[in-house]
């Protein structure tokens, strides 16, 4: 019976990638806790799985390479060899090569050249063990070790020249046999190793219970989410229609509607939860990145990761990876001082980079912080003036000065390194995060460190909004940005320089934005004291939006305008209301940019977006 193995390939690659990540994570953990048996066991199991599966699918390069790694790991596991930093380093490099081999097998790139040399190094590392165990090693004895180990793998490989089911079974049997052999071997070992293996046994049983989860393609989940979104809209439409009937027409119908509404909401929540994945999936790559960057700069870094189980929408996590990578590299490269400088300053030579994630309100906060040199506000200000980003006349508060580093073309690093400091990046970081409906802020103390705080919505598919009306149109304001709303007294709105307008809120002058003017809709209410002012906040700066009426708070399903049209300034998307009409969702940062391009705002109230636009105009 012929089975097309190719359809299982993607599962193999997915699993191999997961195993590889676990191995890497384990190896990094091993650096700090070299005698952690559980870690060694889990690394070994991963290598073993990759070896077994790859030989079953006929990826002989991968299986023989993993076999080399496995041999060394086995020595580490049974205690013949100690996991010294050199050996862990070697294994880490081997995981990189293994990653390259997997990509090559997938058809992305070529077989890494380092494969042969690394196999030799792995072999040499094994030879050390031979010399350690036998006092006078002969070449023959050294040769012998790997040969005996090779046997089960050789059986496995020879058993699958053609991708037939029998061959698959045979190789599976061979792998199981080799597993049995290992278990038996370890049973004959010391009592300590017995205890260890019995633990290994329970863990492998735990692995079996994990099989109760299934692997589903993201497209299927997305389709489901779209459909549930439609359902929620349809349900709102029915509700709307029902509310137009006299209240006592059909009590049963009302009851049914209430329970249907509850079920729809539950369904929507559950389906959204399917897309939620722990932020650890993106965090887990950083210890390695930080280690490599620190090593290349001669810095010593201790990485702390907190809250990796915090869940976020998969889409958000995917798009978070780039900005986070940038912030983390920056933290190590620019943030932390060299060990010598740190010691001179009376700090521990080892710097600390902490990544943490937690929930706050309906948002997820991700912090990237280090205990490095902190941002030098005066240096940033001078730099911004020399770059012509600001004139030097502005009266900027500390927060506004710190935000200057988000301007395009800004970089404080004296030398441009290959890691960071090319002057591109922080503006991209900010834009990427804003594209996720999030925000990024900086807290920093000179000499003590810097913290970048990213605030993100749980999901991009649903938005908590406030619906407002302007004449016949309905707009949705993201609730996240709304501070308060009120009807101003006639004297509260004043003009500045004849054109700009401010509204006085408890003694504070807040720029007034007439929404109808910005969006070019025919106005119904032009006198602010007859309409309502919604105060929104962006980057610590408040703006008062003049609208006709507040309609209410609601959860809306975000629809992209780009899918069929294009990006529109000041609008982040659209949604469909209960009556079937489309309402636009206001993009507050975009709206502010739009306003500042057209309306004069009193000088002291400038935000950095003015500079952003000013330098964009200069280019």
């Amino acid at each position: 019976m012929q089975i097309d193995l190719s359809e299982f390939h993607s599962v193999f690659f997915d699993e191999a990638a997961e195993h590889l990540a676990t191995m890497e994570e384990g190896l990094l953990g091993l650096e700090s806790t070299p005698d952690n048996r559980d870690l060694l066991n889990s690394i070994f199991r991963c290598a073993h799985s990759i070896k077994g599966n790859s030989s079953m699918f006929g990826f002989n390069d991968i299986s023989s390479f993993t076999h080399g790694m496995e041999s060394l790991l086995d020595r580490l596991r049974d205690g013949t060899l100690l996991p010294t930093s050199e050996r862990v380093e070697l294994l880490l490099r081997a995981t990189d090569t293994l990653g390259g081999l997997l990509r090559a097998a997938r058809g992305e790139g070529t077989t890494p050249e380092s494969m042969g040399s690394l196999l030799q190094e792995l072999q040499l590392a094994l030879d050390d063990s031979a010399s350690a165990t036998s006092p006078a090693p002969t070449d023959a004895a050294v040769e012998e070790l790997p040969v005996t180990d090779e046997a089960p793998a050789a059986v496995a490989e020879s058993a699958l020249p053609s991708a037939s089911a029998e061959a698959g079974d045979a190789s599976l049997a061979a792998v199981t046999a080799s597993l049995d052999r290992e278990t038996k071997c370890s049973e004959t070992r010391s009592s300590e190793s017995k205890g260890r293996d019995s633990k290994g046994g329970t863990e492998s049983r735990a692995l079996h219970t994990e099989a109760s989860s299934i692997r589903v393609s993201v497209e299927k989940v997305d389709e489901l989410i779209n459909l549930v979104g439609e359902l929620a809209i349809a349900q709102a439409m029915v509700n709307q229609a029902l509310s137009e009937l006299p209240a006592d027409t059909a009590p049963l119908l009302y009851e049914a509607m209430v329970s249907m509404e509850r079920s729809t909401r539950d369904l929507q929540e559950r389906v959204m939860a399917v897309r939620m994945i722990p932020v650890g999936t993106v965090f887990r790559r950083f210890p390695r990145l930080i280690r490599d960057v620190a090593a290349s700069l001669g810095k010593r870094v201790n990485v702390e990761i907190i809250g990796e189980e915090t869940e976020l929408d998969k889409q958000v996590i995917e798009r978070l990876s780039d900005p986070l990578t940038h912030l983390v590299r920056n933290a190590v490269d620019h943030g932390l001082e060299s060990p010598e400088e740190r010691e001179r300053l009376g700090k521990p030579a080892e710097g600390c980079v902490r990544l943490s994630a937690f929930h706050e309100g309906g948002n997820v906060i991700i912090d990237v912080e280090e205990d490095g040199r902190g941002l030098d506000l005066e240096k940033i200000r001078r730099k911004a003036i020399s770059l012509g980003l600001i004139s030097g006349q502005e009266n900027l508060n500390d927060e506004q000065i710190r935000s200057l580093i988000f301007l395009p073309g800004f970089s404080t690093a004296a030398a441009v390194s290959d890691i960071s400091g090319r002057g591109v990046g922080m503006d991209v970081v900010k834009r990427n995060i804003e594209a996720l409906n999030g925000s990024v802020s900086i807290e920093s103390e000179l000499g003590r460190g810097t913290r970048f705080r990213i605030k993100l919505p749980l999901t991009m598919a649903i938005l908590d909004g406030l619906s407002v009306s302007v004449h016949e149109e309905i707009y949705i304001l993201p609730l996240l940005a709304v501070v308060e709303s009120f009807r101003p007294q006639p004297g509260d709105v004043r003009t500045v320089l004849g054109t700009g307008e401010v509204v006085v809120v408890r003694g504070e002058n807040v720029p007034l934005v007439r929404l109808y003017a910005v969006f070019g809709v025919p106005p119904q209410i032009t006198d602010p004291s007859l309409g309502l002012i919604v105060i929104v906040e962006h980057q610590g700066q408040k703006y008062g939006l003049l609208v006709d009426e507040l309609l209410g708070q609601l959860q809306v399903v975000m629809k992209s305008l780009e899918a069929n049209y294009r990006k529109v300034d000041g609008i982040s998307g659209a949604t469909i209301l209960g009556d079937g009409r489309v309402a636009l969702i206001v993009d507050i940062p975009g709206l502010i940019r739009l306003v500042e391009r057209t309306v004069v705002i009193p000088p002291s109230r400038h935000s950095e977006d003015v500079f952003f636009d000013a330098c964009a105009a200069l280019v």
């Binding site: 809209i233 629809k559 899918a563 069929n564 049209y565 300034d569 636009l584």
Partner: protein
């Protein structure tokens, strides 16, 4: 719809011809490739989009999808009218996008043989005819064949989509 049959029989379902959907704008006849037409809808509430060209009327809810609506009268620089419930929206596919076109009325489905179609006229610099692929004469009526991609495709929707 009595004219439908006569027109169809006049055009015939020749193998070398393509089927076109014809519609009117200010008493002029236009036609688009019927394979590009997804559906025809009655006029419903359109939400205007700020700061867009005049001929983008706004967006409409098409069974949960947000679809931009192009006003062809405005696109051609014709006199604009207040559309009422008698106006028709032709929903077309432009690349991967779905776009609605507001027209006065939808008239017919016609088959044009290549021999029926003349080159588009050159009307001088003042009149943009780049999106007219040809002109066909049907029963003494002149029908202008439109290139949907040139009309609403390139510069208005696809190209303005941010490259990033």
């Amino acid at each position: 719809m009595e004219t439908t049959n006569t027109l169809n029989s006049a055009g015939g379902f020749a193998a070398d011809g393509n089927q076109f959907l014809t519609f009117t704008l200010q008493n002029e006849e236009y036609a688009i490739d019927i394979l590009r037409v997804q559906e025809i809808k009655g006029f419903s509430k359109i939400t205007p989009i700020p700061n867009t060209p005049r001929y983008i009327r706004g967006v409409m809810n098409l069974r949960g999808t947000v679809v931009p609506i192009v006003d062809l009268r405005a696109r051609f620089g014709m006199e604009e009218t207040e559309y009422n419930q008698f106006a028709v929206i032709i929903v077309v596919n432009v690349g991967s996008k779905v776009v609605g076109l507001v027209v006065d009325t939808v008239s017919d489905v016609l088959n044009f043989n290549t021999s029926d179609v003349d080159e588009p006229p050159q009307l001088g610099a003042g009149v943009d005819t780049s999106f007219i692929t040809g002109m066909a004469k049907v029963d003494e009526k002149l029908v202008m064949l439109l290139d949907i991609d040139k009309l609403v495709g390139t510069e208005d929707l696809a190209a303005m989509h941010p490259a990033a």
